[in-house]
């Protein structure tokens, strides 16, 4: 015996967001929004700290005159500021993905907005991808630093 709606049943996805799932998404979006705002504030404080640090280093270098240590510090100050800015830029992208995920998920749940729903999960995927790449980069950098330190120590001990 065939049912008239059997083709419909086979073609439609059986997964559907229940009321409870929508409630979980709403709460996730709320906390995600809070975390993103705190993240933006921390990045702003980090930017201020980076600029004041580089200013202090440059002032010390200018006051130090011909002291080689302060000259070295002055030359490193610029690189340090660049490094801090790169780290802050990566953090900004991550926080931005978090913010967009939370904003779109909230809109999707409250207004039953399908494009916002798709956008939210795209941003969530991007968020996890950037975290993953950042973690892999951190692990590789840490391993390289360890290998370099080990090579330096064995080299200096053998001499």
């Amino acid at each position: 015996m065939e049912y008239l709606d059997q083709d419909f049943q086979a073609s439609a996805s059986q997964l559907h967001p229940t009321r409870q799932i929508r409630e979980d998404w709403r709460i996730t979006a709320r906390w995600g929004n809070f975390l993103a705002i705190v993240g933006f504030v921390f990045i702003g404080i980090g930017l201020l700290a980076a600029f004041s640090l580089s200013t202090v280093i440059n002032m010390l270098a200018a006051m130090g005159g011909s002291s080689p240590e302060l000259e070295l510090l002055g030359s490193m100050g610029g690189w340090l500021a660049v490094l801090v800015l790169v780290v802050l830029a990566v953090q900004f992208m991550i926080v931005l993905f978090q913010f967009r995920f939370a904003k779109n998920l909230k809109t999707a749940v409250l207004q039953t907005d399908q494009p916002a729903f798709e956008e939210a999960w795209l941003q969530f995927r991007n968020l996890l991808r950037w975290y993953g790449i950042l973690i892999i980069a951190g692990v590789v950098f840490g391993l390289l630093a360890n290998v370099a330190m080990y090579a330096f120590l064995t080299n200096s001990l053998s001499q």
């Binding site: 073609s11 996805s13 059986q14 979980d24 039953t112």
Partner: protein
């Protein structure tokens, strides 16, 4: 008697929409598939980190009673802080995988329940960190004002 002239699928949306109105499209399934793979990667890293932590605690505990105390204390604090999000992200990934493979809505619900808990944990943890910063700032202000600076 029911209206015989209305279409059989009149109560179903033409696009096969669910009562909630949001559809899980093929794009969303792809985003979820990639997201749950990254989530599993983070969970595995977290478990490896906890494994190293347990090994280091065994190492510290050979240094006598103070070592055992310090080891157990750090295991409870650091291990607890790391274990909870690791477990939640593992559960999120595992349930999402199961739900996508077997079209199971209860597994989907469990998956997003764990994601919600993960965000709640991160949010509450952030509030505690902010509170600690605030208390430290107040202490610093009190200390400076007491020194007449």
């Amino acid at each position: 008697m029911d209206n015989q002239n209305q279409a059989l699928d009149a109560d179903l949306n033409p696009a096969g929409e669910t009562p909630s109105g949001l559809i899980i499209t093929e794009n969303i399934r792809q985003y979820w598939t990639e997201s749950r793979k990254w989530a599993m990667f983070f969970a595995v890293l977290g478990f490896i980190y906890i494994g190293f932590l347990v090994l280091s605690v065994f190492g510290i505990s050979t240094m006598g009673n103070a070592g055992i105390f310090a080891g157990v204390f750090s295991l409870l604090i650091v291990g607890g802080i790391v274990f909870v999000p690791t477990w939640l992200i593992f559960q999120f990934s595992q349930n999402l995988k199961q739900s996508l493979a077997s079209e199971s809505t209860p597994a989907l619900g469990l998956s997003f329940r764990n994601l919600r808990r993960l965000y709640q944990f991160a949010g509450i943890f952030m509030i505690i960190i902010l509170a600690i910063y605030g208390i430290m700032f107040l202490f610093m202000l009190t200390f400076l004002s007491s020194r007449g600076m």
